[in-house]
């Protein structure tokens, strides 16, 4: 009985609750970092050095009145943020940190498949809001997300061929000698930019283009549902960064101290997240056709060539990975 409760209830909660709390704890350093990059101080009133600011923000959002617009499609309006957060949290289950909460053999396939479902929540919220801004924002967001998913899928397929299987734990073994970023740094660079675009993050944040569309697909959301979208976005960002670290900057699983690997992994994730912020503070927003040009005309042809390269070279130089 106790192992059942541990496995099925406490383990998932032990993964989910820190993810939800992670937004609270990391948001404050994030805002201070962006503030100092823009030569201003971030929030510094609410707690010591402004550390309690995100908690106050969260409380603020949940106490505000949520709005159900009279002209919206009510069920879809309520379901979309729930779908977004559900997917964002479920995607953490198969990540090996170093041992996953749900040990699936086809880890990456599961993650790729579920991350493609997030477009439904974007589309649903835009459509259900029954507002022109929301609809245009949602369409642009969906077009951007699906475009970058094509290249992301092919890029991940390249390193999966090098590593030998769809299981993320084989990546730890693959990277025992050196990080995969060294042999496949073009792939790492393209996949980093693709994850920036997938999570609708600057400089690809047209969907929340604040100066253009007010707030894009979540213009009609207030209070609690908005908080759910926000939580989902942060969980997605952390997830994409953790995935990039596992794939390209992996740490080996030292058998007798798995906590060392977790610390190692999460430190690198934090560094990649700071890089996200750095990019946000540095570059202006892409114009939409530039964004589409980047993926369909720059990344995609190179990615196709990379697939043939990564398929041909291991076969030709007898460097195929061991089959599990």
């Amino acid at each position: 009985m106790l192992p059942t409760i541990m496995n099925y209830i406490i383990n998932p909660l032990a993964l989910i609750i820190p993810i939800l709390l992670a937004r609270r704890t990391t948001n404050s350093p994030k805002r201070k970092i962006i503030g100092y990059m823009q030569l201003r101080k971030g929030p510094n009133i609410v707690g010591p050095y402004g550390l309690l600011q995100p908690i106050a923000d969260g409380l603020n959002l949940f106490v505000k009145e949520p709005i159900l617009p009279s002209t919206s499609s009510q069920i879809l309006f309520i379901l979309s943020p729930m779908l977004a957060l559900t997917l964002a949290l479920t995607l953490w289950a198969p990540l090996p940190l170093p041992s996953p909460a749900a040990d699936l053999n086809l880890n990456i396939l599961f993650i790729l498949a579920l991350s493609s479902l997030t477009v439904y929540s974007l589309l649903g919220s835009g459509w259900a809001s029954n507002s022109k801004y929301a609809l245009i924002g949602a369409l642009r967001a969906v077009a951007q997300t699906i475009s970058y998913e094509v290249t992301l899928g092919l890029l991940l397929l390249c390193i999966i061929i090098l590593s030998g299987g769809f299981n993320l734990e084989t990546f730890n073994v693959t990277q025992e000698n050196m990080w995969l970023i060294l042999p496949s740094w073009p792939l790492a660079a393209m996949s980093y930019v693709s994850t920036l675009a997938e999570t609708n993050r600057s400089p690809f944040d047209l969907t929340e283009g604040e100066s253009e569309l007010v707030s894009g697909f979540n213009v009609e959301y207030a209070g609690g549902p908005f908080a759910l979208f926000f939580l989902a976005e942060y969980a997605n960002i952390l997830l994409m960064n953790t995935l990039s670290v596992i794939l390209f900057l992996g740490s080996s699983n030292t058998l007798f101290s798995p906590e060392l690997m977790t610390t190692n992994l999460m430190t690198k994730t934090a560094l990649l997240s700071i890089l996200f912020l750095w990019v946000r503070a540095s570059y202006p927003r892409f114009r939409y056709d530039q964004l589409m040009h980047l993926t369909w005309k720059s990344f995609f042809p190179l990615t196709l060539a990379m697939v043939i390269w990564h398929l041909a070279l291991p076969i030709a130089l007898t460097g195929l990975p061991p089959q599990l």
Partner: protein
């Protein structure tokens, strides 16, 4: 019950609980202005269910086709281990060359032009 199903159940229940809290905790005073759709303070001009640009539809169709080709390429990690790797490489290259030809045709016909 499967572990991943249990996990998904947990991740479904938590957003549901959060939504319930957000709709019951605050004081709700709906009035007409609050519930109307947002258009910079004006009354909305025309219906919001606009006909949308055909380019989005074209992009979705492109994504569909290329994703299907990716689905065909998914067995590569296992098929590259087959004893006759030549066959694998030949077939995978055929799929990729067809995909590339499709991309070239699309590019040349202007389907990717300002493909926003």
């Amino acid at each position: 019950m499967n572990l991943i199903i249990a996990f998904m159940l947990m991740t479904t229940l938590i957003p549901m609980a959060l939504m319930l809290i957000s709709f019951t905790l605050p004081m709700m005073t709906p009035d007409y202005e609050k519930l109307s759709p947002y258009e910079c303070g004006f009354d909305p001009l025309g219906s919001a269910r606009l006909p949308f640009s055909i380019r989005f539809f074209l992009l979705a169709i492109l994504f569909l086709l290329f994703d299907l080709v990716i689905a065909l390429l998914l067995p590569l990690p296992w098929s590259s281990q087959l004893p006759l790797a030549n066959h694998t490489f030949f077939l995978a290259s055929t799929i990729l060359i067809l995909l590339t030809l499709g991309l070239i045709y699309e590019w040349q016909q202007g389907g990717l032009e300002w493909a926003e």
